[in-house]
């Protein structure tokens, strides 16, 4: 069971308090009518399946209820960063280098 840090509550809690919502930083297009069919399918269904450093969405569903993002190494399961929704994605390569992954 993973240990997850909620950047709103500022506490580390077991994974059972959270729900993982897949890849982060996939914004719903602001004007869906102008999006091509291919791009809409991409938005709906296609996600990266990274072996390595990956930014994903989490929700502290049994805590504060807030959505936030985390950077996790998908092989080791080590978390390299937690940050609030709306904050920019950190540079994944830099994070990976710092962690020696």
């Amino acid at each position: 069971m993973l240990l997850v840090y909620c950047p709103y509550c500022q506490v580390e809690r077991p994974e059972t308090e959270f729900s993982c919502r897949g890849q982060a930083h996939i914004a719903r297009p602001a004007d869906p009518d102008t999006v091509s069919d291919e791009d809409w399918v991409e938005y709906l269904y296609l996600r990266d399946n990274t072996k390595g450093v990956y930014a994903e969405r989490w929700r502290h569903i049994h805590g504060c209820g807030r959505f936030f993002n985390a950077v996790r190494h998908t092989v080791s399961d080590d978390f390299l960063a937690f940050y609030k929704a709306g904050e920019p994605m950190p540079d994944l390569d830099t994070l990976a280098k710092e962690a020696g992954k």
Partner: protein
């Protein structure tokens, strides 16, 4: 004579405490401190089981949790627990054990015929035999093999024991309490760090408990253990857990421990759990799981009386039991020599020490010679004689050519073997660490740590008592420092004796026997021989993972701790590739077999899943309601009167709702309060319908899609004020709708000033439906005008019901005049009882979910999740009217324009009427365009809802059918096993198509 193989003195058993136990109905004696295995051996019993495939007689091989053969059933509290390892079962007064996998008895087992039929069971026989003609396999071989193979029988009754659970945090967790583990615990504890030390055995001390010669700080090893444990248990920061196996190492240093609490007691306190699950989050972990000895793979190495050398030494020094009176020691390494010397000290005749090595260390040879023990160097065991117990060992000489020359036979009643040592890397492997091959040690050892752990001592292939202690102290200090930043000076104990030996062998032992006729076992528990591994390679298996599955080697309960390295070497030889290029299978949890009860804990029976009850629950129970489970909810299904079956009750309830009035508990519906200046804008974006122009006091049906364009939920939204909506969701969809709304609100539209709150549990809801509904509620509603003019269909008001605050909706899911009364949940029982009494005056009825379903189906109202399946759009469901045509955007709008969703040939919601009104379709039945479709004909759709309709006095159904909306009036077929049913496609609205009954 009782216990003929018990030593005169020594061992850690309590000789003053004699215990009586039963094995296969025979009464025997043992002592407190014995395991079942040591007590059996003390009584001269080696034969304890029959092997899995060939039913060969098998004896105790080890003294630990890796035991492959001595699996027994233990009777307790009138039931039997199968497959317990006799080497771990502690003896208590009155213990009752049975052997397994034999019929009719252990010494005469008809299944042993399998041994003679062994050409039928080569490697991969599961795969090969299934290829045989089906009839041959089904009727002849399969039943025989199934009956003959296998281990113990499962218990007959539900588990009568309870299981505990503890969450714990610590700075340093140490798994294993041999010299390295104890030293690590001392070093870590001294810093003040919070330490947990666990060991799977009853007593702490690991290998030190079997040590007769070496000393620590001048004390006997066992005494040093006792002193150390006394010291640790006096420290508040240390938790000592014996009989506790660290069986799982998960991510982020999360370790699962299984503590056996009562199974070693003859009469435990009934309040105690049988086992306790410890879920530990450790800042740092020290893996001190030691190493285990490897069997030697020589022909007939599975006879009862053949044990690992270290097990022989453990039985002698720890339990005061001699494995035999005349023992042959076969070895490839130094450590087994000490077993021979220890046995010799207790008067056991050591018939010979056969060492594979041409020149074993002179220091050992001279001791043996001084004791008068025959030493055979460059010598291997090539076979054994005896059936239920070894009688003699055949020996052979290794020649420089690589051939083996016969060396005669040596009589014996036990044989101790040692192929060297294998570090126990299971926990390290579970922690996702990759093992690396150490050529010098001839073993895989832990590589780089992936998590916050370090292996110490034997677990990383480090041997020798002094070196192991040093390693333990250093690891304990380092772990505590890493966890807490603190360090402390610890006086390190100094050992004398117990030096590390050398030597070891891997793989099959060369011999001079006919290879076609002999069996040399690699995996005892699964009956896998060296020949099987070679055959698997010949038949094309290249990877060890394939060889493992093809032969089942390493798939026993020890996960190959005993067998893997030998199998690997044999495969490596057959593949002509170095061991490192053959690969190693991954160790997975659990480290040893772990009971289901431990995992279930208290989550069984009433505690398996939460039960949610509605405010009418007690009233419904008292009034004969029949319940159905809807998710976690208990909902009243129907209310039968005496003598009524379900059909009759539902028909009566339906009829009365349409004729007079019915009362229904709708409290399970999901409810969400949407509040804020942007509340209408938010709903505008979430739901298909337009919301901004909905006046306060009015309601609207809302359809929720996902962004792919498919229906995911529906409900009625009431606007209470400009900035406040009370919305409902389906019963099952409530949590998901709420989470979806939060998701969009927090991450896509954080600019919207809206708050949403789940109020499902805040309100009790009673639906009053039927022509008399207004008259029923009128006496209790205050503060508003209930007339049709002032409170038209699809309205909402805040008022009071019987003096308590109330949100009154005029809505209908039945097609009749209807109201849904929401009161604070604490008043729900009062509301229900008040209304239940009132409807009697109007000849009304309470009704359940089945009637609700029938009434809504008569009106063609869909149930999301029953009439839709996640691939249905509003257009498919005939609900294009629910889409706000002028809206710029809503969730699902763009999705609805995708090519597949606007293409011809989509499945659409229709009504179906069977040509014979008495015939009821089965929900889920497939629909075809022809009456007698050929196998393989694609279905045109399927039946989603099907009921007898009392209003129409015939059966009706809803269905999803390809191009269904264009097929109205056409005939389709529902093929069933006894012929096709003819159906006519109709509108899904069967009753009161104009909706006249609503507007009264």
């Amino acid at each position: 004579m009782s216990q003929p193989f018990r030593t005169e003195k020594g061992g850690r058993i309590d000789r003053g405490d004699q215990l009586t136990f039963m094995f296969d109905g025979e009464q025997m004696q043992g002592h407190k401190g014995d395991t079942l295995a040591s007590a059996l051996l003390a009584n001269g019993v080696h034969l304890v089981g029959r092997s899995f495939k060939y039913h060969r007689p098998r004896g105790i091989v080890t003294a630990g949790s890796e035991e492959p053969n001595a699996l027994v059933g233990i009777y307790r509290k009138g039931d039997q627990t199968p497959n317990l390892r006799a080497t771990q079962v502690e003896l208590y007064q009155g213990l009752e054990a049975i052997s397994q996998n034999r019929f009719p008895s252990l010494s005469f087992d008809v299944g042993a015929v399998n041994d003679l039929l062994s050409p039928l069971f080569p490697a991969g026989f599961y795969y090969k035999t299934f290829m045989w003609p089906k009839s041959f396999w089904d009727r002849v071989y399969e039943p025989i093999i199934r009956a003959a193979a296998g281990l113990g029988r499962p218990p007959k009754n539900p588990d009568h024991d309870s299981y505990g659970n503890i969450y714990e945090h610590c700075d340093v967790l140490i798994a294993g309490s041999g010299p390295a583990g104890l030293a690590a615990a001392l070093a870590a504890a001294e810093t003040g760090a919070k330490v947990i030390l666990c060991d799977e055995q009853a007593q702490f001390g690991g290998s030190l408990l079997s040590e007769a010669n070496a000393t620590i700080d001048g004390k006997a090893a066992g005494d040093w253990v006792s002193g150390t444990i006394a010291k640790l248990s006096a420290m508040d920061n240390v938790t000592l857990l014996n009989r506790t196996t660290a069986f799982g190492y998960f991510a982020h240093n999360y370790i699962a421990l299984a503590e056996r609490v009562t199974e070693h007691m003859s009469d435990p306190d009934p309040k105690l759990p049988r086992e306790r699950l410890w879920q530990v989050r450790a800042k740092e972990v020290v893996i001190a799981s030691g190493a285990i000895e490897r069997p030697m793979v020589f022909p007939e190495n599975d006879r009862p009386g053949i044990l690992l050398a270290d097990a022989g030494r453990t039985y002698l020094n720890r339990y005061g039991v001699k494995v035999g009176h005349k023992v042959v020691v076969a070895t490839a390494c130094d450590s087994a020599w000490q077993a021979a010397f220890d046995l010799n000290d207790h008067g056991v005749e050591v018939a010979a020490i056969c060492d594979m090595r041409e020149t074993p260390p002179e220091s050992l040879v001279s001791i043996a010679k001084a004791r008068g023990i025959r030493v055979e160097a460059g010598c291997v065991v090539t076979g054994t004689l005896g059936r239920k117990r070894i009688k003699a060992a055949l020996i052979g000489r290794l020649m420089t050519s690589g051939q083996v020359a016969s060396g005669g036979q040596i009589d014996c009643d036990a044989l101790l073997m040692s192929g060297g040592w294998t570090p126990t890397v299971s926990l390290y492997s579970q922690s996702r660490g990759k093992v690396v091959w150490d050529q010098d040690k001839g073993a895989y050892v832990p590589g780089v740590s992936v998590q916050k752990e370090r292996s110490v001592g034997g677990a990383k292939g480090l041997y020798g008592l002094q070196a192991t202690l040093e390693d333990g102290y250093a690891a304990g200090e380092q772990a505590a420092k890493a966890a807490t930043g603190k360090s402390a000076a610890v006086t390190r104990a100094v050992a004398s004796g117990g030096e590390a030996g050398s030597g070891g062998t891997l793989g099959a032992i060369p011999h001079d026997r006919n290879p076609a006729r002999v069996k040399a076992f690699v995996d005892y528990q699964n009956d896998v021989t060296a020949k099987d591994v070679k055959l698997a390679v010949r038949e094309g298996m290249q990877s060890i993972e394939h060889i493992k599955r093809y032969t089942t080697t390493g798939m026993a309960t020890d996960q190959g701790r005993l067998s893997n390295m030998n199998a690997l070497q044999i495969a490596s030889g057959a593949l002509e590739r170095p061991v490192t290029q053959v690969g190693l299978t991954t160790f997975r949890l659990p480290y040893t077999p772990t009971s289901f009860g431990l995992f279930a804990g208290v989550s069984r029976g009433d505690f398996f899943d939460p039960v949610r009850k509605t405010p009418s629950h007690e009233w419904a129970v008292e009034n004969g309601g029949v319940f159905e489970d809807v998710g976690q909810w208990k909902r009243t299904w129907y209310f039968p009167k005496s003598g009524e079956d379900m059909h009759a009750a539902v028909a009566r309830e339906c009829k009365m709702v349409r004729e007079t009035v019915g009362l229904f508990d709708a409290s399970t519906l999901g409810k969400i309060e949407v509040v804020g200046p942007d509340a209408a804008e938010f709903l505008e974006r979430m739901y298909t319908n337009p919301w901004k122009k909905l006046a306060p006091g009015r309601c609207r049906y809302g359809l929720l899609l996902n962004d792919a364009g498919f229906i995911v939920d529906d409900g009625v939204m009431g606007r209470l004020a400009e900035d406040r909506f009370h919305i409902t969701t389906t019963t099952g969809g409530a949590p998901n709708v709420f989470a979806t709304m939060e998701d969009y609100l927090q991450t896509e539209w954080p600019d919207l000033d809206v708050w949403i709150t789940s109020t499902t549990e805040q309100y009790a809801v009673a639906a009053v439906q039927g022509p008399k509904a207004r008259e029923v509620i009128a006496p209790f509603i205050e503060g508003i005008d209930l007339s049709a003019e002032k409170l038209p269909h699809m309205s909402v008001r805040e008022c009071t019901f019987a003096g308590v605050p109330c949100r009154l909706f005029r809505i209908s899911f039945t097609g009749e005049l209807g109201f849904e009364i929401n009161v604070p949940k604490r008043h729900g029982k009062m509301m229900w009882e008040t209304l239940a009494k009132e409807i009697e005056k109007h000849n009304g009825v309470p009704y359940g979910t089945e009637t609700m379903h029938v009434l809504r189906a008569e009106k063609g109202f869909i149930i999301v999740g029953q009439d839709t399946d996640g691939t249905v759009t509003p257009h498919d469901a005939g609900m294009s009217w629910a889409i706000g045509k002028k809206k710029h955007d809503f969730v699902g709008k763009r999705g609805l324009e995708r090519p597949d969703l606007v293409a011809e040939g989509r499945k659409q919601l229709v009504g179906l009427l069977t040509k014979d009104p008495k015939v009821k379709l089965e929900e889920g039945a497939q629909i075809t365009s022809r009456g007698a479709p050929k196998t393989g004909t694609p279905a045109e759709g399927h039946v989603t809802s099907s009921y007898y309709s009392p209003a129409l006095d015939r059966n009706i159904a809803l269905a999803i059918v390809k191009n269904g909306q264009a097929l109205e009036g056409k005939t389709l077929y529902v093929p069933m096993p006894d012929g096709s049913i003819e159906v006519e496609v109709t509108s899904p609205v069967f009753y009161d198509k104009e909706g006249a009954r609503l507007n009264v």
